[in-house]
């Protein structure tokens, strides 16, 4: 089985102090750790597990600048066979649609029985690249997948819906799956695989191979700004009933009913 996993290198902002840079369109990055996007690590693991089970090849692809090669190497160390970097620097501002087109331009020429992507990138939060890519490649997809079982020619994919419900789909390959966190336990790389990965060649594809003029975007970032924050630590006083009424109001105001 030939498998492809799309991964992205992102700044780890969940626990960090995030500041906007002077352009107003990007964040200050010099104090941020960069890692593989969280759900991509699960997508990669799912791809490796599938490859281990059915044998075949696993190619990882990332649209990114030179640094993304570190992330691709991590994927190689964990079990991918080949890695391709699409040079983000050649294509200007990227939105999800453009990223998907770049991936398509490369993947269309590769054999692929299954494609895995993360379900959301924690930097731009678009959650659209996987599904868009499937459409551009003309293949079926299932997003937010938390379980995959392969039974002969049928793939049972389980999608996570709101409120603790799973949607069970019967699909056929080739297909694309966007993977939700928690589906598996991403592995560590072994030192032996790390040494091997350090020496592997990463294929780099840029504007020489992909005609930038054919690639359009649907949106452009105007500006970043800090969302308004509320005050901290107001002690609610009064009778229990009054306190309860205040909480009721707070919950209502936040649209949490």
């Amino acid at each position: 089985m030939d498998i492809i996993a799309c991964i992205k290198r992102v700044p780890q902002t969940a626990e960090a102090d995030v500041k906007i840079d002077s352009s107003g369109k990007d964040i200050v990055k010099d104090r941020l750790q960069f890692d593989m996007n969280e759900s991509d690590t699960y997508a990669l693991e799912e791809a490796i597990l599938l490859k281990e089970k059915f044998s075949g090849s696993l190619t990882v692809i990332s649209v990114g600048t030179f640094d993304a090669e570190d992330t691709l190497r991590i994927a190689l160390a964990k079990g991918a066979d080949n890695a391709i970097r699409i040079k983000a620097e050649d294509f200007g501002e990227l939105d999800g649609y453009k990223t998907a087109q770049l991936l398509k331009a490369v993947i269309k020429d590769l054999k692929h029985d299954a494609i895995f992507t993360g379900c959301i990138a924690t930097d731009d939060y678009y959650s659209q690249v996987g599904v868009t890519l499937a459409e551009l490649l003309g293949m079926p997809h299932a997003s937010l997948v938390t379980k995959i079982e392969i039974d002969g020619n049928t793939v049972h994919a389980y999608r996570e819906l709101e409120g603790g419900l799973l949607e069970h789909l019967a699909m056929s390959l080739p297909a694309l799956f966007t993977i939700q966190t928690g589906i598996n336990e991403p592995r560590y790389a072994s030192l032996i695989a790390i040494r091997r990965a350090a020496k592997k060649e990463i294929k780099v594809i840029g504007k020489e191979e992909i005609n930038a003029e054919d690639i359009v975007s649907f949106s452009s970032l105007e500006k970043l700004f800090t969302p308004p924050v509320g005050e901290r630590a107001e002690i609610l006083s009064g009778t229990l009933d009054e306190i309860g009424t205040r909480v009721q109001g707070i919950v209502k105001e936040k649209g949490l009913l």
């Binding site: 995030v18 964040i27 930097d123 999608r159 949607e167 909480v247 209502k252």
Partner: protein, 327 residues
């Protein structure tokens, strides 16, 4: 003026809350653009669904067919394409839910219509659409401009618009479904309840978190009931896991999960730093602790200095009351 469309989301026969939010947002846009709001219902049976949204849109287009009984992105895509090609709406609003997520990007890519996903707000600036989105793990917001086009698709995050009651004169129009069967390559099979043990606290919007202050395991069911009643899930601090009262995957903190719900209610949790780092990203934190000096109050938005066993029943009742009023 081209219209604003909103896709009605339903599951297991009932309209999902996001639908009302989409209609509220849609009306805001329609008013601003001086145009009409149309709701799209793909369902089977459709009557109850149509009835639930009566008077909330100027027009309801209904496609009733067995294939729409359960959501399938592939089928919705075909049906929507059919309508969008005929009607050419200016903006089509879809929920940023597991359904919208699966549908919108594929539809936009297929039809070449610019789309924006997971939007908090949306407005016109001239003829272009500007959306507000949350980025970088929710630490920042972004304004994004969509490419100039006659039509747009937008998925809206839930909880960003408060549904409003209106009474519009609604015209109901029936249309034939262009699809009549599920495609071979992707068939809906069934819905499955996730096992109770599989509750993922990292994805919950409302979390009730209990600490050593709940005293004993026998008090857990009351807390669980409270959490369920207000539509949340139960999490805890480490001592509760150590005591074996809740499984490890419910632990919030440095050696547990990092959560960022919209509402985090901490009951009898002191606020050790290993706990705080796991929950300080929550939008709103309400802490109940009988010790006025508990460090958790440094992190909370609202503090209640009281015995949690007295507070919980009151909170539960009040929140349930509010829900009833609304429902």
């Amino acid at each position: 003026m081209a219209e604003i469309f909103a896709l009605v989301e339903h599951r297991q026969g009932a309209v999902r809350d996001i639908t009302y939010e989409l209609l509220t947002c849609g009306r805001k846009l329609a008013t601003a653009q001086n145009t009409k709001l149309t709701a799209l219902v793909f369902a089977s049976p459709a009557d109850k669904i149509v009835e639930s949204i009566q008077e909330r849109a100027d027009r309801i287009i209904v496609m009733e067919h067995g294939v729409f009984e359960n959501f399938n992105a592939e089928i919705y895509q075909l049906a929507l394409r059919d309508i969008l090609e005929k009607e050419k709406p200016h903006v089509t609003l879809i929920g940023h839910t597991a359904f919208g997520y699966d549908l919108c990007p594929a539809l936009g890519a297929e039809m070449g219509i610019p789309f924006a996903t997971d939007c908090l707000d949306i407005e016109f600036t001239g003829s272009r659409l500007r959306v507000t989105r949350s980025v970088y793990d929710g630490k920042l917001d972004a304004h994004v401009l969509l490419k100039e086009h006659t039509s747009y698709l937008v998925t809206l995050r839930s909880g960003c618009f408060t549904p409003e009651e209106v009474s519009l004169a609604t015209e109901v129009v029936k249309q034939e479904s262009p699809v009549t069967e599920q495609p071979e390559y992707r068939k809906f099979v069934d819905y499955i309840e996730a096992a109770v043990g599989e509750v993922d606290i990292t994805k919950a919007d409302i979390i009730v978190s209990v600490g050593r202050g709940i005293k004993e395991q026998a008090n857990l069911p009351v807390m669980e009931e409270f959490a369920t009643a207000i539509g949340g899930v139960l999490s805890c601090s480490r001592p509760v896991v150590d005591a074996g009262w809740l499984p490890k995957d419910r632990q919030v903190g440095s050696s547990g999960k990092t959560v960022k719900p919209k509402l985090y209610i901490a009951l009898g949790i002191s606020g050790a730093f290993q706990h705080i780092v796991g929950m300080k990203g929550a939008d709103t934190i309400i802490a109940v602790n009988k010790d006025p000096n508990a460090p958790i109050f440094n992190e909370a938005d609202y503090g209640i200095v009281e015995d949690l066993f007295k507070v919980v029943p009151v909170l539960k009742e009040k929140i349930l009351d509010a829900k009833k009023l609304k429902g």
